[in-house]
Symmetry: C2
Subunit: 347 residues, 2 copies
């Protein structure tokens, strides 16, 4: 592997000039530029990823498409993705689709799929046809948090067993003795949180417990707040709230505070994910932790493999073969017991 | 590889219309748009934006450099920037520097300053020389939240009178009757929050109140938590905490909860900024609100003006003239009284 210095000697220029040419920087005359590029070609020099990408018209970036930058999970995940990407010299640009598939398409078409070597997608709100189009143009795509490992999405992905997360949450509340549990699902009935709720229902079913009330809500603190007020209005005998995500669980605790209900004395609350606010809330939130950092690492390394193997280019994407679509599965979610769950109050 | 002209011919439109459709710009009827997209698909046209952007030195994006994506202020600000940018058809790519000037330089050199038409910077952690270099290469830079309107930074900026924010916070606590106030500054003594603290000190001074204890802390919930414990350990007679940012103020409330101190009955807490969590905390946080949405709008419109006027290119940046460096000043910060402040407890 020739060095930058050897290229410089071969071209009869300084190393700084070689660097400038490869990075499209500084003032370099066209003759000199040509001489440097010929030396690069003659010696088979492979410049640093970043420089090469710019020389080739590609930036050394991975794009991270997030559905809602205002949801604190995504910034946390973005940080983990950045750390993983940095190990291969990639920079991460974050594109916020604001839960809008059309905005997502525009980002894919104009930014992520064009300026990046690969695209990480953290949500299922994007139109899969758009993602396939991006793949077909030669930019690999990886779904980062596929919620149903047993139903592969037909795109490369990192899957997390979110059904199990719901089941663990349900089992924890049942083990404490709760039988009247309200559920808050942070998506539509058939939406992204369906598997989480199914796991919770599976746990109730296995224990012979009644299914209880369920509210579908916005996946926000405010959504959980409103849903909790509605659940407790409809059934004041509820002793615990299961939320499919930490944000609505935090909203449930706020609702309890406003109703003068102590947590966990009068109302237990459990979420899923373990975002930083779960640790920082008072009382600290019991939750089922998803291995965020591990998922970010798996997603970046899968994406890098796909970039290096030119996956999705040419024929493959035109005739996708389900068997060849890679899926990585993360470690299972784990219950993290903190201060927001306890035995139910006496009736 | 088909050209833009071939796509235009195939669709029976002008090349400019194809370009508009691909860039989501201009007014193009839905039928025409569909015809163009069908022609793009039929011919397998790949609008190599990256190559063109590099060739032109411009991409239809604005880069938003944030110092810490984990700080919830930045995602909120990013949302406001995106809304403002969308009105001119710009997409926003978010680059997280993680408070590291070297990472910031790499983003400026390799991404933001290369692939974007302009760069918005939300923090002062970046090396100004790097920002001037980006300007000199023809990519305008706007500082979004300059904290000292009376000391222009020598770069185009939107300034917010953060000294006034600190003063308003101090005046509020004084008006309630507090005289023993602990201060938490979320930066070093000479750091970005210095003006906020100065305003607080000005308020105390004007009222003839003692200056009180101050802790410099990390600008996080945990930083505020630790600082509050230390302040109350050192002086249990403190009746109120002023924090230069909402996150450490929220940490102060958590510390109070863990110490069994009621807020505001036994400890009043006030922050600055008015992030969403300030509204959502229990008790809701009294704070001095910064006009985030307005600042985002001013920053984007200033950046667009600079892009259109080719500010910073050629001679101007080489010999910057302080008089010509534009600064926009936002509306003044405003006190928002919520539930975390009240009259001091009796001694």
């Amino acid at each position: 592997m020739p060095t930058l210095n050897e290229v410089a000697r071969h071209a009869g220029v300084t190393p700084a000039t070689v660097s400038n040419v490869l990075r499209n920087r500084g003032r370099v005359g066209e003759t000199t530029r040509q001489r440097v590029l010929e030396a690069v070609a003659a010696l088979g020099y492979r410049p640093h990823l970043a420089a090469r990408a710019l020389a080739e018209g590609r930036a050394p970036t991975l794009a991270l498409m997030v559905s809602s930058i205002a949801n604190p999970f995504y910034p946390e995940f973005a940080l983990a993705v950045e750390r993983a990407a940095r190990t291969s010299g990639h920079f991460v640009i974050i594109c916020n689709t604001n839960e809008d598939p059309l905005t997502g398409r525009a980002y894919l078409d104009q930014i992520a799929g064009t300026l990046s070597e690969g695209v990480l997608v953290t949500n299922a709100n994007l139109d899969f046809a758009d993602l396939h189009t991006t793949e077909a143009r030669g930019t690999p795509v990886v779904l980062c948090m596929w919620e149903r490992p047993h139903e592969p999405p037909g795109l490369p992905c990192v899957a997390v067993d979110f059904r199990l997360a719901g089941e663990l949450a349900g089992q924890h509340l049942l083990a404490l003795g709760h039988r009247r549990i309200g559920a808050i699902v942070g998506s539509k009935a058939t939406g992204v949180h369906a598997a989480r709720y199914q796991g919770f229902v599976d746990a109730l079913h296995a224990a012979g417990a009644p299914k209880g009330r369920v509210k579908h809500a916005l996946d926000t603190i405010q959504g959980g707040y409103t849903a909790t007020r509605a659940l407790l209005d409809a059934d004041p005998t509820i002793t615990a709230i299961f939320a499919t995500n930490d944000l609505p669980a935090l909203g449930a605790m706020h609702a309890a505070a406003d109703l003068g209900l102590s947590v966990p004395g009068e109302l237990s609350v459990i979420g899923i994910t373990d975002i930083q606010l779960a640790r920082e809330s008072r009382p600290a939130l019991t939750t089922v932790a998803v291995p965020t950092v591990e998922v970010a690492g798996l997603a970046v390394s899968l994406l890098r493999e796909l970039i290096e193997s030119s996956y999705g280019q040419a024929g493959k994407a035109a005739a996708p073969d389900a068997v060849t679509v890679p899926m990585r599965i993360s470690s299972p979610p784990e219950l993290v017991v903190r201060a927001s769950t306890g035995v139910p109050r006496s009736p």
